[in-house]
């Protein structure tokens, strides 16, 4: 017999992983929905997954690469920035979409129960398809420039996971905050923009001397971006310490985010 006990929750409860797994089918269908509706009624469809990072790359190459002559660790500037923009776009989209996800699903939240965490989680996961499309373009560009990936490429899934956890960690935090404070909606684009320039996408991390370079890893996206360059383009700076710092910070952000989320979760339906 399946018994459910309903009572006021304690303030700080940990994530109910078992329940999340129980609702995996709902998660699956939410991701599927996001994927199916993302480019419905657009002319260019899936091309949008490429257009955004690609044109940012073109703009960066013109202004930072050509005009400002920003160094690029001896790699052609377009590929130097594009290899960073691909994971960055995944991160920025995941962050933006998950922040708005709960508010966008208000009708679900007020009418039916399921672990709320599924909603921001699904919105970050559904960005993976866009990432894959953009990544294919990246590989094509690398061949065009005669650059071939190294064996370090096996680290890419880990680096993607790092970007994922960071996006989700910040995303769930902002999404929970967004339920009560709609200001978040206006903060997110601003935050993403600042974060873009706080991440070595247009410039190399080698501009910084040690120990500042390692400390820079406090921004988890620094580890992701430098990791991508190292794994795909063979940059000299092995970013091991940076990635370790980034991973620790990302996990901390994620834990803090999910604790906050679970604390706020119980009032979502009342406040949203």
């Amino acid at each position: 017999m399946h018994t459910t006990i309903i009572k006021p929750k304690q303030n700080w409860e940990t994530i109910n992983l078992k329940e999340l797994i129980e609702y995996r089918d709902l998660f699956y269908f939410l991701v599927l929905r996001d994927l199916k509706i993302r480019y419905k009624q657009t002319v260019l469809g899936g091309l949008w997954a490429i257009i955004q990072p690609f044109f940012t790359m073109v703009v960066f190459s013109l202004f930072f690469g050509k005009l400002a002559r920003v160094p690029s660790d001896g790699i052609p500037y377009p590929i130097f920035s594009f290899v960073a923009l691909v994971p960055w776009t995944f991160f920025a989209q995941g962050l933006t979409n998950s922040s708005n996800s709960l508010v966008g699903s208000a009708n679900l939240i007020t009418k039916v129960y399921f672990p709320r965490m599924i909603i921001p989680l699904a919105s970050v996961v559904s960005g993976i398809l866009d990432f894959v499309i953009a990544f294919a373009v990246l590989i094509g560009m690398m061949f065009f420039y005669g650059i071939y990936p190294t064996i370090n490429i096996i680290w890419l899934p880990f680096l993607l996971l790092l970007a994922f956890i960071t996006a989700l960690g910040v995303g769930i935090w902002l999404s929970a905050l967004n339920v009560e404070y709609r200001d978040v909606r206006y903060v997110v684009p601003f935050l993403v923009q600042i974060w873009l320039f706080a991440t070595p996408i247009a410039y190399p991390v080698s501009l910084l001397p040690e120990p500042w370079r390692t400390a820079y890893g406090i921004n988890p996206m620094v580890g992701v971006v430098e990791g991508f360059r190292w794994a795909l383009l063979r940059t000299d700076t092995a970013p091991g310490p940076i990635i370790i710092v980034s991973s620790v910070v990302a996990v901390l952000i994620f834990i803090a985010g999910s604790l906050y989320f679970h604390r706020m979760e119980k009032t979502f339906a009342d406040v949203i």
């Binding site: 017999m1 089918d25 939410l30 199916k36 007020t110 009418k111 009342d270």
Partner: protein, 437 residues
């Protein structure tokens, strides 16, 4: 195995007013409060007083207060009460959508809650995709949906359009598809809100049939409804909620009688207060609305009996060209019909001088038994120029005439239609000509 399906013990729910209204706290409010608090602490004025908390407490109310009851396995229990009595809050707590503030509840068995149909339907997705999505949202597993998919499509009668995005569906198709998914849930405990019972009677009938079936299979149903006739038809027991408390419980008929005798329906007169107005210009004020042909001193009339209303009002300034209107609405707010005193004439409306008035009118009543909203209002010159609008008075159409004749409840539709038939006879072309002058 426990014989209790639902056990609720000392359950309470505190709402903050701000949460219920569509007001969202802005970050700056919180920051402002925070700064004020720090400032006061530093300055040393009233160090204990926290304006933030005080504010919250003064604007809170108990939607449920110390509720306890049990529902045995296989029982169908109805929950009735006025709007805001706490019925829906209870259902939301039992569905785990919102949390209780105090107390606890225990649900023994797989529970499904239906607060709305078609939850999560996305207009861009096809019928097929929406069945899976909606099923998953309602707690079905992928395999369960797959196994019942054909049945669901069959039931919905939209198989031709199952791969069409539902934004192209008619509203009838939409509702049928949504209901088809719901009908194939197989819960041991079903929690249903009244929203299910709105819509066309055909649909209500399907819902009622479904709930009866669920109950006959030994499952438990908890229904929140305003529809006294469906509660009466379905439930063995009922709970009457009032102001967040259980006012009474027992046999359905007894509880409904208590409800009708205490509710707005419970008196053939209704004193109108400021909170009853949906809109008001300070030119006319309604004092009282009474039902003249009331049955049993309640705000109810016999089936098929025209509704005779008297309205007492005060006019504060001389006004002319006033048009009065009255009509009936479904509980979900949709109009059944609306009429005006000068609908079929070109007269410009009445002129009224300052003073007290009584105005009487009769509304046609071909409605099915049930509870409806009485809407009254008046406008000056143009219908946009509203003088007042009230629709807080409920009226019940009883399930029988004065002589005890009962209607065919299960005919679909909102009204009691009437058609006149002749017995079939052998076709003669001349018959047509004779019957059509």
């Amino acid at each position: 195995m426990s014989d209790i399906a639902i056990r609720v013990k000392n359950l309470s729910k505190l709402y903050y007013i701000g949460e219920r209204q569509q007001h969202h706290r802005m970050l700056r409010d919180t920051i402002a409060e925070f700064v004020k608090r720090i400032y006061k602490k530093i300055i040393g004025i009233e160090p204990k007083k926290q304006p933030f908390n005080n504010n919250r407490q003064s604007s809170s109310f108990w939607a449920l207060k110390d509720i306890s009851f049990e529902v045995a396995r296989g029982e169908i229990v109805g929950i009735i009460g006025r709007n805001g009595a706490g019925k829906s809050t209870l259902l939301k707590i039992l569905s785990k959508i919102t949390q209780p503030t105090e107390g606890y509840a225990e649900i023994n068995g797989r529970a499904s809650s239906l607060l709305e149909i078609g939850i999560g339907f996305h207009p861009e997705l096809t019928g097929r995709e929406n069945i899976f999505l909606n099923g998953a949202i309602l707690g079905m597993k992928k395999n369960e949906i797959k196994a019942r998919f054909d049945e669901i499509v069959d039931f919905s009668e939209v198989e031709k359009f199952i791969d069409t995005p539902i934004k192209y569906y008619s509203s009838g198709m939409y509702v049928r598809l949504a209901f088809a998914v719901v009908a194939h849930l197989e819960p041991e405990i079903l929690l249903v809100d009244e929203v299910l019972a709105v819509g066309d009677i055909e649909f209500q009938k399907k819902c009622i049939g479904k709930m009866e079936k669920v109950a006959h299979e030994g499952n438990t149903v908890l229904i929140v409804s305003h529809n006294m006739s469906s509660i009466r038809a379905l439930c063995t027991r009922a709970l009457l909620f009032d102001n967040g408390c259980i006012k009474t419980t027992g046999q359905t008929d007894d509880v409904i009688n208590v409800y009708l005798s205490t509710n707005t329906i419970g008196s053939a007169e209704r004193v109108i207060s400021d909170s009853d107005y949906l809109s008001k210009e300070n030119k006319i004020s309604i004092k009282r609305i009474s039902l003249l042909n009331n049955a049993m001193d309640t705000f109810s009339v016999y089936w098929r009996e025209p509704i005779k209303i008297a309205m007492e009002m005060e006019v504060f300034e001389d006004i002319d060209n006033v048009t009065f209107g009255a009509g009936l609405k479904m509980l979900d707010g949709s109009w059944i019909y609306c009429t005006h005193h000068n609908d079929y004439s070109t007269s410009p409306g009445w002129s009224l001088k300052t003073g007290f008035y009584i105005i009487k009118f009769t509304l046609q009543n071909e409605l099915k038994p049930g509870v409806y909203k009485l809407a009254v209002g008046a406008h000056q010159e143009h219908y946009m120029n509203n003088l007042f609008h009230i629709e807080s008075v409920y009226i019940e159409i009883l399930g029988h005439t004065k002589d005890g004749v009962t209607p065919l409840i299960y005919n679909p539709g909102i009204i009691n239609g009437k058609s006149i038939w002749e017995e079939p006879k052998i076709f003669q072309p001349s018959d047509l000509n004779n019957d059509n002058p």
